[in-house]
Amino acid sequence: MKRKRIKRIIFFSAAIILVTVGLYAFSEYNRKVKDLSKVKADMEISAADILAEYEKDEAASNQLYLDKVIAVKGTVKSLEKNDKGHYSVVLGNENSMASVRCSMDSIHQRKAEDLVTGSVVTVKGACTGFNSNDLLGSDLILNRCVIQN
């Protein structure tokens, strides 16, 4: 009698554990990349400041910013739409070869369409790295961006 009860308890706890593990694995497997409009920025900085830091020491800046969600405030230098209809907001000083290039999250890019060149805006995005080119200048790239305000 007692043995039967113990067996039953073991069976049910094993089943519960299996289901929990299964559900966790399933949700983990299907987990989507976070929508940054729902994530608080790890830090806030101006476009000029972060560009200056990157130009001074890229490796050290990567340690600080790479993969972090950062909110960058700056002047809209240009708004670009590529051949596939995807928007990028470019922040920075008009006379400088360096910019913060914000690749918009496709769900949130509508808000970017109305941006005016010369206006000041804060864009939140995942820091993806610093891409410098002799000819094109340098870009700090933010990915999955959303307009913060």
């Binding site: 993969d67 990028s88 891409n131």
Partner: protein, 185 residues
């Protein structure tokens, strides 16, 4: 005398303009990679690819940030960055090469041209020679560069964990699509 000066001026501005239109570029080109496997297909896109093409010499360059690849599933993106490509160690990837048959492409005339591209591709800190056929389309002052090619993960020392070795493709298809504008200098 006056006529000569005007002619000289016209010629000069002509050559200057030609010089300015040699180079084409983009900062928001796309590169997508596909990996087909029994377990599941993997696809990711990078929308911030820079590309510079010198139409005079045929020199062609691409560069992208590895962390800029966007996946449908978060777990894949994390594994790609942390375990496979180690993007914290090797954040950039680039290609430097030439269009070998550049003389056969008339950049001043709209049309589609086959481009034979040869150069060095660096991924995961490893540089290998690659060669592929691509397409150059000249259309209304723009140059569209497109190419598909396949690379072997082994060549770039990208290790696949033993546990999933049989379920993940050992090769990856890379599709490049860049719409280039004239670089005004």
């Amino acid at each position: 005398m006056n006529k000569r000066i005007i002619l000289l001026a016209v010629l000069l501005t002509g050559t200057l303009m030609m010089k300015a239109q040699d180079k084409y570029f983009t900062r928001n080109g796309t590169i997508t990679f596909y990996s087909k496997a029994p377990l599941e297909n993997i696809e990711a896109q990078n929308k911030s690819v820079t590309c510079v093409l010198d139409t005079k010499t045929g020199n062609l360059q691409f560069a992208l940030m590895m962390k800029g690849f966007e996946f449908e599933k978060a777990l894949m993106q994390e594994h790609f960055n942390e375990n496979y490509i180690e993007s914290h160690k090797y954040p950039k990837s680039d290609f430097k090469g030439q269009i070998v048959n550049n003389d056969a492409i008339d950049y001043s005339k709209d049309g589609d041209y086959t481009a034979k591209v040869k150069g060095k591709l660096t991924i995961h800190g490893e540089t290998r020679d690659v060669e592929t056929l691509g397409k150059i389309s000249v259309k209304g002052g723009k140059v569209i560069a497109a190419a598909d090619f396949i690379i072997a993960l082994e060549d770039y020392k990208v290790e696949i964990p033993k546990l999933v070795k049989d379920n993940i493709s050992k090769t990856v298809k890379i599709a490049v699509g860049c719409s280039l504008d004239v670089l005004k200098s």
